[in-house]
C-alpha cells in the first residue's frame, strides 16, 4: 500500500479489495409460511460488481428474500447459488464465511458494545483464536488481536475521521446515520464479496441520502463488492442501480434497467394504485434527484 493508491478518503479499501468478485443467483425461490406465500418463484441474477436493487411496496417480501439468501430462512422450494454453488441450507455464519454479509432494516447493532467492539465482532470469521488462545494468549493471539484492532479502525476510517474519533463510544449513543455506518463497517469487517443492504437510506434526509449514495458507490468502485439493495427512495434506486427488480406480493413483476422499470405500467400501478397510474412518470412523482 503506498500513498498513491490512497488518493481520497478511502484508506482501508485497498486492504479490503475483492480479488475474485462473486455472483449470486436465485432460481425459482419460494417461501411459504403456513398459509402465507411470502415469496413466490423469484428468479434473480446478480452479476459480479453489479448493483441490483429490489424495490416494491411494503410487505412485498423484499426482506424475506434477504433472509432467504443469508440463511435465516430456508426456501420452501428453489435454489440460491453463490458463484454457481448452492448455499441453501447453510447456516447464516457459514454464508458469511462464503462471502455474503448484510445490514438490517432496523439496524441491529450490539447496543451495549462500543463502536470498535461492534466492528471487532464483525471480524469474527477473519480471526482464528480459539479457546486455548484465549486462555494462554500466545504471541500469535496478541498479534492477531492487535491487527484486528487496527483493521477495525481502518474500516471505520472508510467513512472518514468522525467514527474513528468516536470509536470508544457505545453505539446506543450515536446518531442514526452514524449507526448505519457502523453497521456497514461491521458487515465489511467479514471481508465479503457480496453485501446486502436493507434500506440503507431509511430515515435520512436529502444530504444524508446523498452521502449514503456516495459511499454505496464507493463500496462497488473501490472495494469491488457486488451489491444487492432494498430501497424505497426511487431517486436513489434509479440513480445507482445497474438493474432493478420489482417485487409485489412475493412475486417479481418486472426486472430490467432503471429506465424500463420507471415506465412500466405494472410497477406504477403497484406503487400508486390503479387510479394514480395515468401514464405518470414514476421518478417525476418522487423528489428530484
Amino acid at each position: 500500500m503506498n500513498s498513491e493508491q490512497i488518493e481520497h478518503e478511502g484508506i482501508a479499501t485497498a486492504a479490503l479489495k475483492v480479488d475474485e468478485p462473486a455472483s449470486l443467483e436465485l432460481r425459482a425461490v419460494t417461501k411459504i409460511f403456513g398459509g402465507l406465500k411470502a415469496v413466490q418463484g423469484v428468479d434473480l441474477v446478480v452479476k459480479p460488481r453489479e448493483i441490483v436493487s429490489i424495490i416494491g411496496p411494503n410487505g412485498a417480501g423484499k426482506t424475506t428474500v434477504f433472509n432467504l439468501i443469508t440463511g435465516i430462512y430456508r426456501p420452501t422450494t428453489g435454489d440460491i447459488l453463490l458463484n454457481g454453488k448452492s448455499i441453501v441450507g447453510h447456516s447464516p455464519d457459514k454464508i458469511v464465511r462464503g462471502g455474503i454479509t448484510r445490514t438490517f432494516q432496523n439496524i441491529r447493532l450490539f447496543n451495549n458494545m462500543t463502536v470498535l467492539e461492534n466492528v471487532l465482532v464483525g471480524q469474527h470469521t477473519q480471526l482464528k483464536t480459539g479457546i486455548l488462545g484465549a486462555l494462554f494468549r500466545p504471541p500469535r493471539t496478541l498479534e492477531e488481536e492487535e491487527k484486528a484492532r487496527i483493521r477495525a479502525i481502518e474500516l471505520l476510517s472508510f467513512f472518514g475521521p468522525e467514527l474513528v474519533a468516536r470509536q470508544e463510544e457505545y453505539v446506543m449513543n450515536l446518531s442514526y446515520a452514524e449507526r448505519r455506518r457502523v453497521e456497514i463497517a461491521r458487515a465489511l469487517a467479514a471481508n465479503p464479496k457480496i453485501i446486502l443492504l436493507d434500506e440503507p437510506t431509511a430515515g435520512m434526509n436529502e444530504a444524508e441520502t446523498l452521502d449514503a449514495v456516495k459511499y454505496i458507490l464507493r463500496l462497488r468502485d473501490e472495494i469491488g463488492l457486488t451489491i444487492l439493495l432494498i430501497e424505497h427512495k426511487l431517486a436513489v434506486t434509479m440513480g445507482i442501480s445497474d438493474r432493478i427488480a420489482v417485487l409485489d406480493y412475493g412475486q417479481k413483476i418486472v426486472e430490467g434497467l432503471p429506465e424500463e422499470v420507471r415506465r412500466n405500467e405494472r410497477v406504477i400501478e403497484a406503487y400508486l394504485g390503479k387510479q394514480g397510474a395515468e401514464s405518470v412518470d414514476l421518478s417525476a412523482s418522487e423528489e428530484n434527484n
Binding site: 455464519d93 488481536e145 492487535e146 476510517s157 474519533a165 434500506e199
Partner: protein, 677 residues
C-alpha cells in the same frame, strides 16, 4: 544516610496543602480507629512480643504466625501510606471535603465499629450493609434538598507536561511523608500514655522508637510510589493511542492525535466513565488507579486471615475457616454459572447437575469406591495424589457433560432453554442416586481421600483433615484465583466477544459470522468446567458424599448469587456469592443463637411475638432480602459497566430521530419470530 531536603517537604504549595488536609483527615481517622479501637496496635505489639519476648504475651505464638502477622501489618500500613500519596496526587479537589469525610466515615469507620461491637465479622458486615443502605438513601435525599449538581466530567482534564508530572510526584511524596509523620506522632503519644498507665511492656519502647523514625522515611518513598501509580493514569502530552503495524501509517492519518482530543468527542455518559479513570479527577477514591491499593489490602487480609482470625477474635478459628472454605467453592460455582448466564446470556436453571458430576468424579475415583468398582487395589497415601490431575480431568468430564446437556437446548430461546436446563437439574441427582452399582446409591460414598501434598517431616507437612481447615482454605483461595484468571481471559477474547454478541442479538451475531451452535456449546462447556473443579474440592473436603446432599433448588441459589452480584461481572459474582452464602449459612442460621442472649434486641423480638423464632422465618427473611436487592439494585451489587447501562440507560439528548424511524410502516413482523435453521 542523607536525604536532600526539599522545600516541598516542609511547605507544600497551597493547593497541595488543601488536598493534604483533606486526605490526612480522611485516612488518619479510620487508621487510628483500626489501631486503637480494634487491635491494630495490638497485633503489632503482639507480633513484636511474639518474636522477641514470647513469655510476655497471652497468645500462643509460633514463628510462622508472628511473621505472617508482621507481614500483614507491614502491608496494611504501607498500602495506606502509599494510598495517601496516590489520593492526594489524583485529586483535583473540586468536590467538597465533607463529602469525602462522611463517605469514608461510613465506609470504613462504621463497619469497623460494628464488627467490634458485635464481635463477629459477618454479623457486623451485614449490619453495616443495612446502615450503608440507609446512608445512601439519606445522602441522595440530602443532596436533592441542597440542589447539589456534581461538577461536569472531563471539564478539568489537563494534559501534564514534564513540569506537571513533577508537581504531581512532589504532591504525592509530601502527602505520604506527612501522613506517615503525623501517624507516627499520634501513635507515639498513644504509646507513651499506655506506658505511663503501665500497660505497655518496656521492651516495646524499642519498637516505638524504631517506628517513629522509620515511618516518616518510609512515608516519603511510599508517597512517591503512590505518585508513580497516579502518573500511570494521568493524561500526559506523550499519551497517544499506540498503533503499530503495516496499516498503521494509513490509520494514523485519521487518528485523532492525543487521548485528550479523543475524549472530547465522547458523549457525556461515556465521558463520566472515562473521567473516573483519569488523573486528576474528582473521585480519586473510586478511580481505576486506586483499585490496586484496595486489592493489595484486601488480598493481604484474605491471605493472612487464618493468622489474623486468632488475633482478632480469639477462639473458633477452625470452624470459621471451614465455613469460609465452603464459601469458596460456592464462589467457583458462581464464577462458572457466570460464564453461561452472564457472558453468553443462556439461562441455565440446572447448574447443580454439573456440580454433582464433578463431586462424584472424585468420590468414585478417590476413595474405596475405586477399588470396589475396578478391583484394583491402591495405596490411599499414593492415590491421594490423583486429586490434582482429577481437578482437571473431572473438570473436563463436566465440560463434556456440559456439551451433552447443552446440545438439546441450542435451538431454543430464553424461557424454553431455561425449562430444559431445569429438567436436567432435576434429572441428574436422582440419576446418580439410582446408579447404585457405581455410586453406592443412598448410602453415598465415604472415606474420600483428601488432597496429598509433599510432606517433609519437621519442615513442611500439611495435615489435611476435617479438623484442620487451614490447608483447605488456602487451596480454595488458589483455585479461586485460577478460576478468576480463566474467567478474565475468556471474557476479553474473541470468544468472549462472541458470547456478548449472542447475548445482545442472536440474529445479528449469526449474521456477523458467529457460529451459534459452537459458541453456545462452548459456553456450556466452559461453565461446567468450573463446576467440575468445585465438585472435586467439595468431595475432598467433605470426605463423604450422598445424593441427598444435592437439591435441584440449589441451582436457584447459584443463579441468585450471579444475579445479585451482577450478571457478567467477575468481582460482582464473587461478592454475590459471599453475600448469598453468608446470608444463608452464617447470618440467618445464627440469628436464633444470638437471640438467645437476653439484653439483645433480637431477644425482645423473639419473645414478644408468639410462636416466632428466627429459625421459622429464616427463609422468609432470605427471600425478602433477595427481593429488596433486586428492586433497588437490579443490576447487581457490583455490576459490570455493560449491565448498568442496560438497565439504567438514559438516552442522550442529541438522538432525536431514533424511535420515530425504527419501524418503517409495514415492516415485516415475521423477522421478530425468526428461528435460525
Amino acid at each position: 544516610m542523607s536525604i536532600a531536603v526539599r522545600s516541598s517537604w516542609l511547605r507544600p504549595e497551597r493547593k497541595t496543602r488543601k488536598l493534604l488536609v483533606r486526605w490526612l483527615v480522611a485516612l488518619l481517622v479510620p487508621v487510628l480507629v483500626f489501631n486503637f479501637a480494634w487491635t491494630g496496635e495490638g497485633i503489632v505489639n503482639n507480633v513484636f512480643l511474639g518474636l522477641f519476648a514470647p513469655k510476655l504475651t497471652n497468645y500462643n505464638y509460633t514463628l510462622s504466625n508472628s511473621i505472617q502477622g508482621g507481614l500483614f501489618i507491614l502491608v496494611f500500613y504501607a498500602v495506606i501510606t502509599a494510598l495517601a500519596g496516590y489520593l492526594t496526587a489524583a485529586d483535583s479537589g473540586r468536590r467538597s471535603n465533607i463529602e469525602i469525610w462522611v463517605g469514608i466515615l461510613f465506609a470504613v469507620v462504621v463497619p469497623l465499629l460494628l464488627v467490634i461491637i458485635t464481635g463477629d465479622l459477618l454479623i457486623g458486615f451485614s449490619l453495616f450493609a443495612i446502615v450503608w443502605g440507609l446512608y445512601v438513601v439519606g445522602r441522595r435525599y440530602v443532596l436533592k434538598v441542597l440542589h447539589y449538581t456534581p461538577p461536569i466530567a472531563l471539564e478539568h482534564v489537563e494534559t501534564l507536561d514534564e513540569e506537571g508530572q513533577q508537581r504531581l510526584l512532589d504532591r504525592a511524596r509530601s502527602a505520604g511523608f506527612w501522613f506517615a509523620t503525623i501517624f507516627a506522632l499520634i501513635t507515639l503519644v498513644g504509646d507513651i500514655i499506655f506506658f505511663a498507665l503501665g500497660s505497655l511492656p518496656t521492651i516495646l519502647l524499642a519498637l516505638v522508637v524504631a517506628r517513629t523514625i522509620i515511618f516518616p522515611l518510609a512515608g516519603y518513598f511510599l508517597g512517591w510510589l503512590g505518585g508513580k501509580m497516579a502518573l500511570r493514569h494521568a493524561l500526559t502530552t506523550s499519551t497517544q493511542a499506540p498503533i503499530n503495524g503495516a496499516g498503521a501509517a494509513n490509520a494514523r492519518r485519521w487518528w485523532v492525535r492525543g487521548r485528550k482530543e479523543q475524549l472530547e468527542h465522547l458523549s457525556s455518559a461515556r465521558a463520566q466513565e472515562e473521567a473516573k479513570d483519569l488523573v486528576p479527577n474528582d473521585t480519586p477514591l473510586q478511580s481505576k488507579g486506586a483499585w490496586p491499593f484496595y486489592l493489595v489490602l484486601l488480598g493481604g487480609f484474605i491471605l493472612f486471615y487464618p493468622v489474623l482470625d486468632a488475633m482478632l477474635f480469639g477462639s473458633g478459628t477452625n470452624g470459621r475457616l471451614s465455613g469460609y472454605a465452603n464459601l469458596g467453592y460456592y464462589i467457583i460455582l458462581a464464577l462458572g454459572l457466570n460464564v453461561v448466564v452472564g457472558f453468553a446470556g443462556l439461562l441455565d436453571l440446572g447448574y447443580v447437575a454439573f456440580f454433582v458430576i464433578g463431586t462424584y468424579s472424585w468420590a468414585m475415583i478417590g476413595s474405596g469406591q475405586f477399588t470396589h468398582l475396578t478391583q484394583i487395589v491402591v495405596n490411599p497415601q499414593i492415590w491421594s495424589w490423583m486429586f490434582w490431575p482429577m481437578l482437571i480431568i473431572a473438570a473436563l468430564i463436566a465440560a463434556a457433560w456440559g456439551i451433552l446437556l447443552g446440545a438439546p437446548t441450542l435451538r431454543l430461546r430464553g424461557d424454553y432453554l431455561a425449562i430444559v436446563t431445569l429438567g436436567f437439574g432435576e434429572i441428574i441427582p436422582p440419576f446418580f442416586l439410582n446408579l447404585d452399582k457405581y455410586t453406592n446409591g443412598t448410602n453415598g460414598i465415604v472415606g474420600i481421600y483428601p488432597p496429598a501434598t509433599p510432606c517433609i517431616q519437621g519442615v513442611f507437612c500439611v495435615q489435611w483433615s476435617s479438623f484442620n481447615a487451614t490447608p483447605f482454605y488456602y487451596l480454595i483461595l488458589a483455585l479461586i484465583v485460577l478460576c478468576v484468571f480463566v474467567n478474565v481471559r475468556l471474557r476479553d477474547s474473541r470468544l468472549g466477544r462472541a458470547w456478548v454478541a449472542i447475548r445482545e442479538d442472536e440474529i445479528a451475531a449469526s449474521s456477523s459470522g458467529i457460529n451459534l451452535v459452537n459458541t453456545k456449546l462452548f459456553a456450556f462447556a466452559a461453565g461446567a468446567f468450573f463446576s467440575g473443579i468445585a465438585g472435586v474440592y467439595h468431595a475432598a473436603k467433605l470426605g463423604t458424599v450422598a445424593p441427598s446432599d444435592f437439591n435441584p433448588t440449589d441451582s436457584f441459589v447459584y443463579l441468585s448469587m450471579v444475579v445479585i452480584g451482577g450478571l457478567g461481572s467477575i468481582p460482582g459474582v464473587i461478592v454475590g456469592g459471599v453475600v448469598v452464602y453468608a446470608l444463608n449459612e452464617f447470618i440467618l442460621a445464627r440469628l436464633d443463637t444470638i437471640a438467645a442472649s437476653p439484653g439483645n434486641i433480637l431477644y425482645v423480638i423473639e419473645h414478644t411475638i408468639p410462636n416466632f423464632t428466627f429459625g421459622n422465618v429464616r427463609n422468609l427473611l432470605f427471600g425478602i432480602i433477595l427481593i429488596s436487592i433486586m428492586l433497588f439494585r437490579p443490576e447487581g451489587l457490583i455490576p459490570s459497566a455493560r449491565r448498568r447501562r442496560e438497565l439504567h440507560h438514559k438516552k442522550e439528548d442529541d438522538i432525536v430521530e431514533l424511535d420515530a424511524l425504527d419501524e418503517p410502516v409495514g415492516a415485516e413482523t415475521l423477522e421478530a419470530e425468526m428461528q435460525v435453521e
